[in-house]
Each structure stands twice: as C-alpha cells, then as structure tokens.
C-alpha cells in the first residue's frame, strides 16, 4: 500500500488541475492554420488549456459540422458559412465575430518578376500565360479576386486565361510550379517569402471577412470560450497582422 | 527431294544433336523412348525451337542456316500436336476455315472432302470443348490437311487417346493415303502404331540418331532396341495370291518359296500388302511338323541369335530376302541347340495385316 501513495498523489494533482483546464478542438480554414498554430502556442503558454487544431476548407468543415463533427470552435475563411451555422442552430447565436480580414496579393512566375497593375494588364493583353485564382464560387479569396479584376476592368479580358483552383493554396501552386504566369493569392501566403508580390488595394474588393463562431458542441467548453476572448486581445491581433491579415482595432 | 537436317540444340540437361537426310516422301517415323528428343526435333523442323543452331533444308528450300531462319508461318508446313490445340473460340467449322483460308496452295482438298475423310461432318457446329479427345484429334488432323502443306508433321497424335479412339484414327490415317500424298513426319514411341503407317524410320535415343532406314529392315535388326521391345515384331511384305472362300482364308506369297495363310483379307489378287508378325508369336521347330494345328510353318535359316534377358533369346530368321523375328526361352534354344546357319522351321501363330491393299507398294 505505501508504494501506491505517490501514484495516488500524482493522480490527485492532475485531477485538481483538470478542474479548470479544458481541451478544445478548433476547426480552422486551411489558409489560417499556420497563423492559428502560432496563436495556439502563445495561448497554451498563458493558460492551462490544450487546443487540438483541425484544418480543412471552410466548405468541408461546414458539412462536417452539420453532420455532428465534435468541433468546439470554427474559424472560417468567410462570414457566410458561420452565419448559416448560426441560423441552422449548429452554433451559439451572437458568438460570431470577425477575427481577421484576408488581403489579396498578385504573384507571378518567375518569382522575381515585377508586379503591378500595368504588368497584370500587359500579361492579360499581350502575354499568353494563365492567371490563377481560387474558385469564385467556393472560395472567398476567389470571389475577392473576381471583384478586384472587375474593379480593374480586367474581368472580361481575363476570361480565356483564368484557371480556377480549388482553393487559395492550389492557386499558389499553379504559379509556383510555373503552370500559371500570374496568380491572385492570399497575402498571408507570401508575406514572409522572398517572392515578389503586389498587395492589392483593399478598396478593389469586398473585405474578406474571416469569422469565428462558437459551436453548439463547445458551448460549455472553457478552453474554446477563453480562446475566443484571446483572439480579440492586442497580442493576438499583432500575431494575426504579422501573418498578413488586416484586423480592426 | 529430301529433308536435310543438321541440328545442335542445347538445354540445361539435354542436348539434341544429329545430322542426317530424311526422305521427303511417304511416312517417316521418328521413334524413340520418351525423353529422346523426338518432339523437340519435330518442333525444330517446324521452326518452333528458335534457339537451336543448325541447318535445315527441305527439298530446294533453306529453312535455316547460319544466317537465315524462315519463321514457322512461312514454312508451309502443317503440324498435328499431341494435344490437338483447337481454337476454343471457334467451332469445328471455324477451326477448319482458319486453316483453309490461309492454305498454302489452291490444289488441296476442300473442307467438305476432308470432313468426309475424317468423319467429322456431323460435328461442324460443335465447339472444341464439346468434343471427345478422339474427335478433337480428328478435327486437328482435318485442319492440318486443309492447309495444303508441303509436309505434315504429326507429334504423337494418338498419344492422349484411349485405345479404341486411337485405333479409329489410325484407320483414318491409313485410309487418307488414298486421297493425298504429302510427306509425313510422324513421332511416336509405339512401334506397332508406326509399323502400320510408316515406311521409313529414324530411331532417336538421348538426343542422338541411332539409325535410320526402311522400317522393314530396322524392325528385325537384333542390335537395335526396336527388336527388344515387348511387342517387337517383324514387318513383312507379301502379295495376295488368291482368296479361299471355303475356309475364309487368303493365301499370300512372301517370296517365290514362302506362302502364308491369313484370315480373309481385303484386296485384290496381286495386291501388295504388309504384315506384322510379333516375335513372341513365332516359335521354332527343327522339322516341319504335320501334326500341329499351326497353319503357317515356313522353312528358313537362322541369321543371328541374341540373348535379350536372363531367360530369353531373340532369333532372326532369313526367308529369301526378308526376315522374321522369333522370341524363345533360352532353355528351348539350348534344348534345340540352335546355331547360326541352321535350317529350321518357323511356326507362325499370328500375323496381322498392316494395311489394306494398295497398288503403291
């Protein structure tokens, strides 16, 4: 019996710390996952909570949540699907907020080429290469790319040259591999790379509002609730901005 | 007018090496125990053994030498395999048509004729899987004939058949000679089967040619393994003298001084026929007994004697030109004190007719 005593004490210690420590599963749009990993690391240092991160496209996550996936919090790449989940009762009403705004950047192949509105127009008029964008029907960055091209009056010109990637990561691959000569991608993808890029002015497209919402599954999960609050704190906003997103103060 | 062979084929544990010239008419049998290389030799002649070195000439055509190799499909041969090898996706008619459409010359027989000869007309709509082995082999022979080949190669065509089916085909093969006259190379290890259809014989053992020559000569040569077979026999040619309708017998003349009676044989007077006289059915007497039931007792001279086992000896008996074989126990031979050159009487218990009368022989 005496030999079991240390083990018993250990279990009691863990049990007491578990009383205020929680584990949350955060579903995140794939494009935000690198940023979220950084945020989670800081969050886990400051609190006793543990986070599990699941990355996929917002559409996939949406369907999984509707089918009862055990996610506590959703960080979507758009605002439409969190709103739908709220309406449908899969998420906690009133918990929805914009945690980041995506920004659109033009990249090219080869990586060092000069990029600006003129080079985009020149490529579309006299060049022969493809312009990669995310699918406007399914990806928020794709929709924004379309709006930007319309604002630049290049949308009709681009029609024969557009290739629509399944998501923004694939659009990046198309350019990076040299199959497309230009691409409209997320600024977050290129902000820390040596690759040349042109950051499109925010006025040329509707804000890409990436919204978070607390899901029904996590409505009593203290870790998820604490993390939502953490996302609006100044240190978290700095991290998000540092990764290429815009955040309201 | 011949088939000239010079082959050297090396396998892991086997070598086929022979040089020779075979007649390119009539039926030439390739005879030997299993594993002797008979099939390999036939396949080489057909061009199916491509790794063999050597030279092969058929009449005035070169089929293989050190620089040329005429592929099988250009040799204008036909091949009857032991396992028939009918095309399973075609019915009998289709199988015959396959060969007929690709025939090598226009003078050959038609499918209707060949179907008649081999008795397969009723089977035309059947598929190979619906035929017995004997039927399949008859179709295979018919198919080979429809190619109108320059030479017909047959590899143990009766090898996979039961006795009655084999006999039936043998009968067909003998009858075929009335219709077509193409050279045949016929592989078998059954000397009785060969002696019924072949005139010429090549004896193969362990990949080497032991001897070749006229079948009738080789059959009675004591130094050859042929005469040591359990069913060893001499083959004799004779002509029909007359038919005795009262006793139902035919009288045959072997030569000017030897007559033989045989159960009524088909054939006309003066027709040449061949007889097969098994060595075990010939016994020897020192005098012409008149009190024996044996009908055929021929005077002859002992040509040679060979001991073939613990208790047996084999005696070669000379008629005028031809030879008989007699197998005796050693005890009987010692009792009669048989010696080469001695005049004796051969008592023949049975003789079998090998072919129906044919003016060709």
């Amino acid at each position: 019996m005496p030999r079991l005593l240390p083990l018993l004490l250990l279990l009691l210690t863990i049990g007491s710390s578990l009383a205020n420590a929680d584990t949350a599963t955060i579903a995140t749009a794939a494009n935000f996952k690198p940023t979220l990993q950084r945020l989670a690391a800081v969050f886990e240092q400051q609190t006793p909570h543990q986070l599990t991160l699941v990355g996929a496209s917002t559409g996939t996550l949406f369907n999984q949540i509707r089918q009862g996936a055990p996610f506590d919090l959703l960080l979507a790449a758009d605002s439409e699907r969190p709103a739908r989940l709220e309406q449908l009762g899969f998420a906690i009403a009133g918990s929805r907020f914009t945690y980041a705004e995506g920004r659109l950047a033009l990249i090219g192949y080869p990586a060092g080429r000069d990029l600006n509105p003129a080079s985009l127009r020149a490529e579309l008029t006299t060049g022969r290469g493809k312009l990669a964008i995310a699918n406007p029907n399914t990806a928020p960055y794709g929709l924004a790319a379309r709006q930007a091209l319309e604002a630049l009056a290049l949308w009709p010109l681009a029609q024969g040259r557009l290739v629509r990637a399944n998501n923004i990561a694939q659009a990046f691959q198309y350019v990076d591999s040299g199959n497309a000569s230009l691409g409209l991608v997320a600024y977050a993808q290129v902000i820390h790379s040596p690759r040349a890029h042109w950051l499109l002015p925010a006025r040329q497209y509707q804000p890409i509002r990436q919204q978070a919402i607390l899901l029904q599954f996590g409505h009593r999960n203290q870790a998820a609730i604490d993390f939502m609050h953490f996302l609006t704190s100044p240190p978290a906003k700095d991290i998000i901005r540092h990764h290429g997103y815009a955040v309201a103060d | 007018m011949s088939l000239q062979l010079d082959v050297d084929l090396q396998r892991d544990d086997f070598q086929l090496q022979l040089t020779g010239t075979l007649p390119s008419d009539g039926v030439t049998a390739i005879y030997g125990p299993s594993g002797a290389g008979k099939t390999t030799l036939l396949r080489w002649i057909a061009g199916l053994e491509k790794s063999a070195a050597g030279e092969l000439r058929f009449r005035d055509e070169v089929w293989q030498d050190h620089q040329r190799f005429i592929p099988t499909h250009q040799r204008q041969i036909a091949y009857v395999f032991q396992d028939a090898r009918l095309f399973p996706h075609l019915n009998v008619e289709g199988n015959l048509a396959y060969a007929y459409q690709r025939r090598f010359n226009q003078q050959g027989p038609s499918p209707t004729q060949v179907g008649d000869w081999l008795g397969i007309t009723a089977l035309l709509a059947h598929f190979p899987g619906q035929l017995s082995s004997g039927q399949q082999q008859r179709v295979a022979i018919a198919r080979a004939l429809l190619s109108s080949p320059k030479i017909l190669l047959m590899d143990e065509p009766l090898g996979s058949l039961d006795k009655p089916a084999g006999q039936k085909i043998l009968h067909h093969l003998q009858a075929l000679r009335q219709h077509i006259n193409i050279p045949v190379l016929y592989v078998s290890h059954d000397i009785e089967e060969l002696s019924r259809i072949a005139q010429h014989l090549l004896i193969l053992e362990q990949g080497r040619m032991i001897e070749q020559g006229a079948l009738m000569d080789l059959c009675s040569r004591l130094e050859l393994s042929l005469s040591h077979e359990e069913n060893a026999a001499s083959v004799i040619s004779a002509s029909i003298l007359n038919h005795d309708t009262h006793y139902g017998l035919s009288e045959l003349a072997i030569d000017s001084s030897h007559r033989l009676f045989l159960a009524a044989s088909p054939g006309e007077i003066n027709d040449n026929i061949r007889l097969r006289i098994p060595a075990r059915d010939v016994s020897i007497a020192l005098s012409a007994s008149t009190d024996s039931s044996i009908l055929n007792i021929l005077p002859c001279t002992i040509d040679s004697i060979e001991q073939t086992g613990e208790s047996r000896i084999l005696v070669r008996l000379k008629l005028e030109q031809q030879f008989l074989l007699a197998r005796l126990t050693k005890k009987s031979a010692d009792k009669l004190q048989l010696a080469v050159g001695q005049r004796v009487y051969a008592q023949i218990k049975t003789a079998a007719l090998l072919n129906e009368g044919s003016p060709h022989e």
Binding site: G59, Q170, Y174 | A46, L48, D83, F87, P88, H89, F127
Partner: protein
Amino acid sequence: MRSLIEMNSMLSAADLAAIVVTLKLATITTIILLLVGLPIAWWLANTRVRAKPLVEAIVALPLVLPPTVLGFYLLLAFAPDSPVGQLWQYLGGEQLAFSFSALVIGSVIYSLPFAVQPLQASFEQLPKSLLEAAATMGANGRDQFFSIILPLSRRGIIGAASLGFAHTVGEFGVILMIGGNIPGETQVLSIALYDRVETLQYSSAHWMAGGLIVFSLLLLGFIYRFNKTASLYPAGRVRS
C-alpha cells in the same frame, strides 16, 4: 421521359457541359488506355526480363499514390519550363496544364493499372500453344493477334475498357490538381459536383450524384455480369 425533362431542368448548361467533357474524356482515355495498355500488358505477360517486377510496380503506382499527390507531380511535370512541358511545346502543343490534353494524360496515367492488370491477367492465361498452332497454319504475328489473341482475351479487354472508363468518370483528385476547373474544357462532372456541394447547392448536387451513381451501377453491373455469366465458348460436355 418525364424524369429526363425534370433532370434537364435541374441541370444547368454548365452541368451539361461537364457531363459532355466527362464522357469525352472517359472515351478518349479508354481508347488510349487500350492502345497503350495492350502492348505493355502483352510485354509484362510474356517477358522474362528481371526488371519485370519493377515495371509492374511502376504501372501499379497510381493505385498507391493519393490522386492529389499524383496530380501535384503531374502539375510540376506539365510546367512550360519542365522537360515534359518543353517537349509538348516542341511538338506543337499549347500550354499543357489546364488543357483537355492534360486531363487525358493524367487520366491515362491514373487509370493505367486498371487497364493493364486485367489485360495482363488474360494474356497470362492465354495458351501460347494456340499461337504456335496458328503459326503452323501460316498466321504471322499480326494475324495471330487479331485472329487468336484478341478474341481469346475479349473478357480482359472489355474489363480493362470498362474499368478504365468507369475509373475516369469517377476521377477527381488528379483533375482537381491539373484541370483548372475551366467550364467546357476541363470542368468534369466530379468537379462540378464538388463545386455544388461546396456552395451548398445540395439539390443540384443530389441530381448529379444520383445520375453518376446510376450510371456507374449500370456500367459496373454490366462488367460483373459479363465476367460472371458470359461464357467465352461453350464447354458443355466433359472431355473424355
């Protein structure tokens, strides 16, 4: 007929274009698969080369590789400055990626094992002795191929063609990577279907998915029924 009209109203012009692209892709891919697969399968079934297992493994690789990974490497290969891309342009082709030709190449590689394996199996079962028999009757190699090999391998060929066709119709990952989702050119049924699901157009998605399922069931049912019951040649009585 009514259901067809209903279905028509459920499907947009873009959906119909996707169906046309899909059927065109599957048909062309199947033809090329047979042309490429027949010699490969014949070689594999007959060679004694020691590298045979290696070649078999390479042909089978698409079974193992995730389609998106295969698509990714194809994308790298198709880049205009890659050797493949250079060769293609040298041969007079436009840019390879995002073109219908790219889909055909990708589909052929992706479905190759589905065509080669049934062909190889049926070639291996083909008795070579029958080819010898045909040769003795004067049939050269080409003649043997058409008169003996093809008819006796009918089952394998139909299996290879049907599986290759069905597999191409259901292909998604590779096309997602190399297609660029261009309507009327590279947008196939599976991609259009995926778009519908992603954009929450479930009713249209159900129609397309339902159609795909019915079509595939019919096709696969045909293959299995053919393989099971269609006897190649009657083999009625037992041979004696």
